[in-house]
Symmetry: C2
Subunit: 350 residues, 2 copies
DNA sequence: TTGTACGCGTTATCAG
DNA sequence: CTGATAACGCGTACAA
């Protein structure tokens, strides 16, 4: 039945006008000037217009299916309602991507449009001037792609808000901090609490991911040291052979850690499988903790312990915050939003 | 070390000018008229300009860090370089999301920008006029949100290309077909080939997903009928208790199918775990096939058989196709791009 | 209370 | 080959 919808009559306006209606068209139909149309539809402050006229204008706009041209408005006001998000250098992970779906919808409620910009490598002033071409209301970008000069340029150009995200607060702009160290520390704390003293942290051997892995490792190391335990770094590509090789090595028993933080749930699953194939018991011989709380981790044997991240950073909250910063022209670099509220989800694997 | 980058000197232009440079600024600096600037930078056909002048203009543009204002250009030309993608009603799945990362980057190579639009529910003419506010070069949207009137409106408004995606080709616009039936048929063919005669297909009980599930089921049913076998529908929410209940029922033995297509890998993992907990052996008692070829499926016991989908639809190919359609103003509704080249990946679970 | 006029930065036309 | 000049659609002082 939905199949025929394309052919069904449409409840929209009956005027199959050539090109989109302009405010002049509306004015003509309502019998007023174009300025009046603008005043009415924007609820302009400082002007008083009779209720009768307002009604006529609104009716005309409705009848013509008038929608103001975004570029004309932007050109005039010097500011669009676009939130520009230059793509991160490392492909967005499951966390960000899952947020994206709802974030876009919530931004819409604040009349903001998310534009994804595909220049994953450009940085600094050259990047900034490219971003400014759409006069975005806000730019949402990794902090390490910003320089003092580029931020100045964005602000001068009229971009109200620049928000960075990255592993640490930026001195330049408000930052959303993604604290990988805290994730590692959380996992390590759990393992140490269960009596494990000889820890290892997997660092993905994939380029791009290794930086995140290193920061998570640092969190593990710090926590271990505080507890008088040790932690070592283990580089591992996402590859069954490599995992098997590692597991075989550990199975010989001499240098085997008793607790592993596996970077994330996917690496954890790879590792657990390899360890079991090598004859080791999880968690008895080696306890394993992942991160990200993928739904799938619950179905493994043993069920996967994991670090859940970003529990309370809802898309709605993020969008609201962004909208408020845009409205208030907030650009205080001291503002920090922590994206990472970490929480241990203990299950059977540790 | 990257931490201090924000403070480092920037290799960009040395002019911290107030607001972004305009083509008039460039003209002044180069000692030519503004029109000449436009000609040079756009490589205008039909005009001949001395190489010396061209060089002066380019140098001036570079020096000022000039980047043409997107809204002014759009206002003037009536067409932006935006590819507008109104968010699908069902949150984008892993397949689409993973494509997004690279698609954006590839679109960029064709000077196209992807804008995500958060109006997951709006349809028809009202939606179309909203989309037209940015005068997009292309609109990429589910076919069932288009009507004949809305497509006309988009075309009239100057939007070169409207591309739909959905389960079946649209009579209105070029369509990217996502053929869920083929996925189900592929899985069923595999199961039947291994001698299973009593099939079941899981249909997710989640709203939104159930429609996809129903189409995959249809593929299973059709394949089963062709082979003289039977297939039944099993509705299942993504929930361990529900899965346990189902598994317990099947463990009693009377009404148990011998082959199951589990909708996708996630449902398959949920199901396999539940079946095993109920004392059934996979694949001996029940063979299970998933879909999507998640990397994680390889690590299960038994390793998960799955239907791999969209093998050859690369982001690069998609972006290129889109760019070409935009350039050629291609709007032939007969064009169909099949997003689903399905392929069985047999492993241990079937 | 409403209408007139100007300019935002671009592209494109047309005389010089 | 180049320099004025006119739109594009909208917002907003200012005049009526």
């Amino acid at each position: 039945m939905r199949e025929t919808a394309g052919m069904a009559t449409d409840t929209g306006d009956p005027a199959p006008s050539g090109r989109p209606a302009t405010s002049v068209d509306v004015a003509r139909l309502a019998g007023v000037s174009q300025a009046t149309v603008s005043y009415v539809l924007n609820d302009a402050p400082g002007v008083t217009i009779s209720e009768a006229t307002r009604a006529r204008v609104r009716a005309a706009a409705e009848e013509l299916g008038y929608a103001p041209d975004a570029s004309a408005r932007t050109l005039r006001t010097g500011r669009s309602d676009i939130v520009l998000m230059p793509l991160p250098a490392t492909p967005m992970g499951a966390l960000v991507l899952s947020l994206l779906n709802e974030l876009v919808e919530r931004l819409r409620e604040h009349r903001l449009t998310l534009a994804l910009y595909g220049d994953a490598r450009s940085r600094g002033v050259a990047a900034a001037r490219d971003w400014m071409r759409w006069r975005p209301a806000a730019v949402l970008v990794e902090t390490d792609r910003l320089t003092a000069a580029s931020v100045r340029r964005l602000h001068d150009g009229g971009c109200a808000t620049v928000i960075g995200f990255g592993p640490a607060p930026s001195p330049l702009v408000p930052t959303m901090v993604i604290d990988d160290g805290a994730i590692g520390a959380c996992a390590a704390g759990h393992l140490l609490g269960r009596g494990r003293r000889d820890l290892a942290a997997i660092v993905p051997a994939e380029p791009g991911l290794d930086a995140y892995g290193a920061r998570r490792l640092a969190g593990v190391t710090a926590a271990a040291e505080r507890a008088g335990a040790v932690a070592r770094r283990v580089d591992l590509p996402f590859d069954e052979d490599a995992a098997a090789w590692l597991a075989a090595d550990w199975a010989t028993g001499t240098g085997r850690p008793d607790g592993v933080f596996a970077y994330n749930d996917e690496y954890a699953m790879l590792l657990v499988r390899a360890l079991q194939d090598a004859g080791l018991d999880v968690p008895r011989d080696v306890a394993v903790v992942g991160a990200d709380d993928l739904p799938l981790g619950r179905f493994l044997r043993p069920r996967l312990s994991t670090v859940r991240v970003a529990g309370d950073v809802t898309a709605a909250g993020l969008a609201g915050r962004l909208a408020r910063m845009v409205a208030e022209r907030d650009r205080d670099p001291a503002v920090t939003v922590s994206l990472t509220r970490v929480e241990m989800v203990p299950r059977e694997s540790s």
